[in-house]
């Protein structure tokens, strides 16, 4: 009965089991290379060595957005095609994307501290990222409060799509709001134009982070599939007792 439903995820699990060790190895290598290049990159004349936080902050920002894009694509799979793996993919992407967004906020705060004097300012970039984190937490709240995984997944899918549509609007609004209240941008977190000597390490780090995301994502998906299996087995057990 329910075994037929799990056929596709079973194939998926087998593929993941084979692929995951390679992905982990690739991630480690990329991080090793990236961190080496990053730590050896020249210091910024203005910010000194603290500019190196950029190698964590910028990729984290990209992956925070990547996570939401992934959730939106999974959302289409859930709502339009009812693909069971889409539910799992979306649910797995949410906490990882939220974590990267959080890392972006923390690194951004630490990066700006020496210049700003405080741990937080309401600049456009950080504020947009904070709103993104709040949206992530909203999606996670849907997963946490749903009694039945299917309903939670569908609700989260709808919110993902609504968020995807609204994020450009929110970004535009926050940028607008920021220029309204702070006519002179004193310090832009992305730094001034990125020097080529910083660009290569940045891209390597970004690639490393992306591999990390994908590795974690597949691992979380595997866990979620196994969790659902346990749930199905418990339900079947309950039904047998009743019959």
């Amino acid at each position: 009965m329910a075994v037929i439903d799990l056929a596709n995820p079973t194939r998926f699990l087998r593929i993941v089991d084979r692929v995951l060790p390679w992905l982990i190895a690739a991630t480690v290598v990329l991080f090793a290379v990236g961190l080496y290049r990053a730590l050896n990159a020249p210091d910024d004349y203005q910010q000194g060595a603290t500019v190196k936080i950029m190698f964590l902050h910028v990729p984290a920002a990209w992956l925070g957005m990547f996570g939401w894009a992934l959730m939106s694509i999974a959302a289409l799979g859930t709502l339009v095609w009812r693909h069971p793996l889409a539910d799992v993919a979306g649910k797995a992407a949410a906490p990882i994307g939220a974590a990267f967004t959080f890392i972006c906020l923390v690194t951004g705060s630490l990066w700006g501290r020496p210049t700003w004097g405080t741990y937080w300012v309401w600049d456009a970039r950080l504020t947009s990222t904070l709103v993104l984190l709040l949206l992530y937490l909203g999606v996670l709240a849907l997963y946490w409060t749903a009694e039945e995984p299917g309903r939670g997944a569908r609700a989260a899918a709808i919110l993902s799509l609504v968020g995807a549509v609204n994020l450009p609007i929110i970004k535009f609004s926050v940028d607008w709001w920021n220029t309204l209240h702070q006519p002179a941008s004193v310090f832009r977190l992305s730094g001034s134009t990125i020097d080529p000597s910083l660009l290569t390490p940045l891209l390597i780090m970004a690639l490393a982070f992306t591999f990390l995301f994908v590795t974690l994502h597949l691992a979380v998906m595997r866990n979620e599939i196994l969790r659902r299996r346990v749930r199905s087995m418990r339900l079947m057990q309950a039904q047998e007792v009743r019959a």
Binding site: M1, A2, G150, R231, S232, L235, M236, R242
Partner: protein
Amino acid sequence: MELQAEGLTCSRGGREVFRNVGFKVPAGEALIITGRNGAGKSSLLRMIAGLVRIAAGRLSLDGGLADTPIAEQAHYLGHQDAMKPSLTVAENLQFWARFLGSRSDINPALERLDLAPLADLPAAYLSAGQRRRLSIARIIAVARPVWLLDEPTSALDAPSQSRLSDIMRDHLATGGIIVAAAHGAIGLERARELKLGVA
């Protein structure tokens, strides 16, 4: 007109409630769905009503309005009454009549269910049986060919049950279709039976 189902499968909450259910109900006939609790009687009714997704199988109303979902040609009488306590009996019925597409007067329906004296009373003051009668009034106030009734005789006393039987017989006589979920007889002499929950 005929209500046809083939290979219907329902899964709710991750577990399969029933699979491969099929039936045919021609105009003027009734189908009683029986089975133990949890077999999926209510789910099957809600599936026909368009409220539960059809996981597999086909459902169609041959001879009904073209390009119109069954949900818009059916009445659903569930366990709940869908009546607002703070609106009067007449206001409640008037709302559903207008929303479900009828422009005619609601008074004949109220009188048929012996609710006319209560018309201006807030629905909060009604007993469970009277509220049930109000839901039944909703079904006869607006003409729709298919009736989906979930344990229609519960909460009704004997006179009301026989009134309901008359109403159901009249509906069948005009070519209507009734699909009802019940544990036992509901007052119709001839009815097909579909038993859920047998392997």
